[in-house]
């Protein structure tokens, strides 16, 4: 399993001066969070190399991973291993977060206070309870895990609950705009806002949801939290811009793809996790753990999404959705496939715009091991997420966050 991966990394090395893919990835795991992130991030990729042939998650692997990493950390609580063993059954994240999220959509609708009836209807349209609400779930579980870690027993802080809500609002606002940009007419099983009410109104609805989110954010009353989440908003837009361009150089192309993936998907998760950590702890190491968990899970989440674009639906109808290809986007599976089939290069550069490009590219991807490689990469990000979150004191919520990484990897829709 690991074979092709490392071969690939070697292939990616161009000349002596440029970086290899593995180095690129290593830089990435440091992330833009803070410069102090480097030791943690770096350790993961180098020490992870020996471990990588064991992608399955048994409780044993967890405690082992924990042992390995805790040796290098001063702050790890001593009793944690025993606790991990005593609670061998992983927690279901959805059940565990449910009690804190039962009023999520009602709370959001209360924030969307508008006098115009129609605009109100548009703003509420996607908050119908049909979304996965993956961001609020992560934020709630992270908050509780962090509170226990910081010896603050008891309930969630009000600000943490608000941030869970805001994360879903920011995400939804960006979806509303994305659908206009991509001219999509469907979202979550119903017609998109732009399809029903037109582009003009859709853009305004998205803007309104965002303004309601930032108003709620300001009311949390913490300047640092405002800065952290406004960074996520900026990343969302920059990520969208990055999708406009393709890189000629293959090594750059992959970095560009991962960078875009971070900005479009992972940044909001990472920064939301960091925001709730700031509210409960003043320890920058704890902020970094929260941030890195969100970042790694977020990237894995998107990588799996990109794989599903090629694989889901293929079983029933034999036809893939291939929505990304149709939009001209080259995601992980295509970039990996391009290593085996250089013919893809020209198609990537013209954004699959010639007749038959989409079908041919899809064939190439299925003949290559692009899907497996991308899945493997997603697994690596999940392992890093687990390594990070395992640095926290054990709790049901922490274990649920570990379990969540498995769900992210195994989901099929």
């Amino acid at each position: 399993m690991a074979g092709p991966w490392w071969r690939l990394c070697r292939r990616w090395a161009i000349g002596g001066a440029t970086t290899t893919l593995s180095e690129t990835l290593r830089c990435f795991s440091g992330g833009p969070a803070s410069s102090s992130a480097c030791p943690l991030g770096r350790a993961s990729w180098s020490s992870g190399a020996g471990d990588e042939r064991r992608p399955s998650f048994s409780p044993q692997t967890h405690s082992k991973a924990f042992h390995l990493s805790s040796s290098g950390l001063r702050r790890a609580p001593r009793c944690s291993c025993r606790a991990t063993h005593s609670d061998a059954r992983p927690e279901d994240p959805f059940t565990l977060a449910q009690k804190d999220l039962s009023s999520l959509y009602d709370d959001i609708k209360k924030e969307l206070f508008v006098s115009t009836k129609e605009l109100k209807h548009l703003c509420d349209y996607y908050f119908d309870g049909k979304g996965k609400a993956i961001r609020p779930i992560i934020v709630i579980l992270m908050s509780r895990a962090l509170n226990i870690h910081s010896n603050k027993a008891g309930d969630l802080l009000p600000g943490q609950r608000t941030i869970a809500m805001i994360s879903e609002m920011i995400h939804t606002a960006s979806l509303v705009h994305d659908d206009v940009i991509d001219s999509s007419d469907e979202r979550r099983g119903k017609r998109s806002i732009n399809d029903v009410w037109g582009q003009k109104k859709a853009i305004l609805a998205g803007d309104f949801i965002l303004s309601a989110a930032t108003t709620a954010l300001a009311r949390v009353g913490d300047s640092t939290v405002v800065k952290v989440l406004s960074q996520a908003i900026e990343d969302l837009v920059r990520g969208e811009f990055m999708q406009l361009g393709s890189k000629e150089n293959e090594n750059e192309r992959f970095k560009h793809y991962l960078d875009k993936t971070f900005k479009k998907t992972a940044s909001l998760m990472a920064h939301s996790c960091k925001a709730v950590s700031i509210l409960v702890s003043s320890d920058p190491d704890v902020h970094e753990i929260a941030y890195q968990y969100g970042r790694n899970v977020g990237i894995a989440f998107q990588l799996v999404d990109d794989v599903l674009d090629f694989t889901s639906g293929a079983d029933q109808l034999g036809k893939p959705t291939a929505a990304d290809l149709k939009l001209g986007l080259a995601t992980g599976p295509v970039l990996f496939a391009c290593q085996q089939f250089p013919e893809l290069h020209a198609m990537i550069m013209r954004r699959f715009s010639s007749r038959g490009d989409v079908d041919r590219a899809w064939q190439y991807v299925l003949q290559s091991d692009g899907v497996q490689q991308t899945t493997f990469l997603a697994r690596r990000y999940c392992e890093e997420a687990i390594r990070q979150i395992s640095l926290l004191r054990p709790s049901h919520e922490r274990d649920a966050l570990i379990r969540l990484t498995q769900i992210v990897l195994s989901r099929n829709k």
């Binding site: 940009i181 853009i203 305004l204 965002l210 303004s211 930032t214 009311r219 300047s223």
Partner: protein, 384 residues
């Protein structure tokens, strides 16, 4: 490094300024009096406020948009016009809102609550955070100029240009508007004052609601009925007043001025905006017509007031009478109908009222060069 940036800016303007004259973004009241009032005021606040906007303009993201916008030349996509105004409109008070925020900051000066250390950071009597706020106000205003230009593709006709290009124009408009808004967000966060973040966020919400309301009737021929002054004010405040009012209030919050001073700043911003909107709505009715008759929006204040005065039925008749054979509107005829009743004069009265309220609001501040400039601006909106 700088020369690189500048060549990029030049390329940017070259790629989107066509032969057409730039569009005036703040107003149509481009009288020489107004220009003089504004250019005098600009000297008072030190240097122009364009750094944050310039940074956005020179960013990779927007340069990219500029390259793409070239494709839209020849289509009817509104982004093209907005973009032209964005780079070529240096004369026409592009940054009017920012200027007022700066003048108010300077008028209020340092507060007793702010310590001396802060005062050292002041340039021309204005705190750096207040300058940043002025920029943010401009970014938000520009973002919505761009977002207002998104078009409904289901209403597309052949004369707009190729559908694919219009779709692409929308994509660019959404992205660049979002980019400006996102930069406003991070800029706001850097001000380290959550009260200000809350105020400006709510102003964005107001602006959206105001534009939404405008759109909902602009499509046809104005709202079903005329509106009275109170509901006109309510709606116009959302679409044209809230951002400036709340920015003015925020500027004083940043200097730690008390609630009362903040309230006065808010009132100045509010009444100035309303008066200014009335002024531009009145232009087609007060300019004595040489040449072709001026067209006007059927939701301009004098028309709305007129409709309320004459009632639904008579307005319908007047509209019918002003229709030419080819079902076009004869604006000079319609304008005469509006002028024959009190619609225009009540709009003029209302404009003077708001000008006076704006003047009143700043009297509590100590007399200064900056305050005089604000007074001149408030007076200039009643000159036609």
């Amino acid at each position: 490094m700088f020369s690189g940036s500048w060549s990029r800016l030049t390329r940017l303007s070259a790629s989107i300024t066509g032969g057409q004259r730039g569009l005036s973004l703040f107003s149509s009241s481009g009288s020489s009096n107004w220009s003089k009032v504004v250019s005098d005021a600009e000297k008072i606040v030190g240097y122009p406020t364009s750094f944050m906007s310039l940074r956005c303009l020179l960013s990779d993201e927007l340069s990219n948009v500029a390259m793409h916008v070239r494709k839209l030349v020849g289509t009817q996509h509104p982004l093209l016009n907005t973009a032209r105004g964005f780079v070529s409109d240096s004369k026409n008070n592009l940054q009017m809102r920012g200027l007022i925020v700066l003048l108010l900051s300077k008028t209020a000066g340092p507060s007793r609550a702010a310590n001396d250390l802060l005062a050292q950071d002041m340039v021309s009597g204005i705190y750096p955070s207040q300058r940043n706020l002025a920029e943010i106000t401009e970014l938000i205003h520009t973002a919505f100029l761009v977002h207002r230009g998104v078009v409904n593709l289901k209403e597309w006709t052949v004369s707009d240009g190729p559908l694919k290009d219009m779709e692409f124009g929308n994509k660019m408009a959404v992205l660049s508007g979002d980019f400006l808004l996102a930069n406003a967000c991070t800029g706001l966060a850097q001000l380290n004052d959550t009260k200000v973040v809350e105020l400006i966020s709510s102003a964005i919400g107001d602006l959206v609601q105001g534009i939404y309301y405008e759109n909902s009737y602009n499509a046809e021929d104005g709202p079903a009925d005329g509106v009275d002054a109170a509901s006109w004010e309510e709606q116009t405040f959302l679409s044209h007043g809230s951002l400036l009012a709340k920015s003015c209030q925020s500027a004083l919050q940043l200097a730690k001025h008390d609630k009362e001073a903040q309230r006065l700043a808010y009132l100045y911003g509010k009444h100035l905006s309303l008066g200014h909107k009335l002024n531009s709505d009145l232009q087609p009715f007060v300019k004595s017509g040489l040449g072709e008759p001026a067209t006007f929006s059927l939701s301009a204040a004098p028309v709305l007031f007129h409709r309320q005065i004459v009632g639904k039925e008579r307005w319908r008749q007047q509209l019918q009478q002003a229709k030419t054979l080819r079902n076009q509107l004869d604006y000079s005829k319609l304008s005469a109908a509006v002028k024959s009743e009190k619609g225009v004069s009540s709009a003029v009265d209302l404009c003077c009222y708001h000008s006076n309220r704006a003047l009143e609001a700043i009297q509590a501040f100590p007399s200064s060069e900056a305050r005089s400039a604000l007074e001149n601006i408030a007076s200039a909106i009643t000159k036609f």
